[in-house]
């Protein structure tokens, strides 16, 4: 009985780490206004989730400069916006810098409002240190 209890406690220690080892952490860095980048990002993320169903994901999309305007739903077909919203609802984070937001965002036109960080480059460095993989679509 005691042996079983000890084994269970030890497994409790192992399990969270084992689960964490299957978490994929990825940064998507958008830095231009090319709608194809937006489309590629959405397709990539959808494919990734389909291709690795047993993985957990922590994904952050970082919008630099004018790329923030890609969040204007009027620039894209409704179906694409719907796909993007579905991804956001699944837990994907959106971030941009305060300067970018003040300079480029038309607040009433954003499909989703991103979280604000002091500096996009600093944030990329920080996330890569945390083990995030870096992708520019």
């Amino acid at each position: 009985m005691v042996k079983k209890l000890l084994l269970m406690i030890a497994l409790l220690g192992i399990c969270p780490a084992a689960i964490a080892s299957h978490t994929e952490k990825i940064i998507y860095h958008l830095h231009n206004t090319n709608p194809n980048s937006y489309l590629r990002t959405i397709s990539n993320l959808e494919n990734m989730k389909k291709g690795m169903p047993d993985h957990q994901f922590r994904i952050t999309i970082l919008f630099q400069g004018k790329s923030l305007q890609l969040l204007n739903p009027a620039l894209h077909p409704a179906a694409l916006n719907k796909r993007f919203l579905k991804l956001v609802q699944s837990g994907i984070k959106l971030e941009t810098s305060r300067d970018n937001y003040q300079t480029y965002a038309h607040k009433d036109q954003l499909l989703v409002t991103p979280a604000l960080v002091p500096n996009v480059f600093d944030r990329i460095i920080e996330l890569q240190r945390q083990g995030y993989r870096y992708i520019t679509p």
Partner: protein, 239 residues
């Protein structure tokens, strides 16, 4: 196996005697056997023999040492709790170790090396001629460098241009050139480099002549430098 004392009394089997000794009989059956014992010496003797045999067997097994697990039942709770905690810690460490081993990308290892050196090394890769995007990259670089200066942390930044990114570093881009001049004057930990292969190909294939901004140094191959820096642990950012 049953015996008879005489022809009128029913036989009492060994099973029944065993049940009597083990106190597994009903009160009524037990009383009946006790009554028979008083009159039946043979039965009394059989019961005595079986009782002795059971006691001898019991005492023989009592001398066998108890298994360790059973002995542990008698130990105090604290050592068991300590053992549980130790196992939990070992479990955590093993799990964490496995998690680290599964990180096979060079980036994590490389970034760790950079952090260990306490100098953050950043490679910014320019591949587009988009002046607005280029200017935004320089603004972000300025903020990054200022932030590290404020925090008294060390950072090295190398901006490498190849492909169409070379056009950004042409002196014709006055606003970009001005910004690069200012940044280079303020930060000696910031360098700009342009790919010689790209410049040569532009001249040969398209007849384009690039006059680099003076603060930009020439390197043989942009792509080789990008790979080399990443292998050295530099954090990669596309500008």
């Amino acid at each position: 196996m049953s015996t008879r004392q005489d022809d009128n009394t029913p036989a009492i089997s060994d099973e029944l005697i065993n049940a009597f000794i083990d106190r597994q009989l009903t009160a009524e059956d037990r009383q009946e056997i006790l009554a028979r014992i008083r009159t039946d010496k043979d039965l009394a003797g059989r019961i005595c023999d079986l009782q002795q045999l059971k006691e001898m067997t019991q005492s023989a097994f009592d001398n066998i040492p108890q298994p360790a697990a059973q002995q542990n039942h008698n130990t105090p709770a604290f050592p068991r709790m300590a053992a549980a905690f130790a196992l939990f810690t070992v479990g955590l460490l093993v799990g964490f170790g496995v998690m680290q081993l599964t990180k096979s990308d060079n980036q994590s290892t490389a970034t760790f090396t950079s952090a260990h050196d306490s100098i953050t090394k950043v490679l910014v890769h320019l591949t587009s001629a988009d002046v607005d995007a280029g200017m935004n990259t320089l603004i972000n670089l300025q903020q990054l460098l200022d932030s590290y200066t404020r925090k008294h942390q060390k950072v090295m930044v190398e901006v490498i241009a190849n492909g169409d990114g070379i056009k950004l570093l042409d002196s014709k881009n006055v606003s970009i050139a001005k910004r690069i001049r200012e940044l280079s004057a303020q930060h000696d930990n910031l360098t700009f480099a342009a790919c010689k292969n790209t410049i040569d190909q532009m001249r040969i294939n398209r007849g384009l002549v690039v006059n680099l901004i003076p603060q930009v140094k020439l390197i043989d191959s942009g792509v080789v430098e990008v790979i080399k820096r990443q292998n050295e642990g530099w954090t990669y950012i596309r500008g």
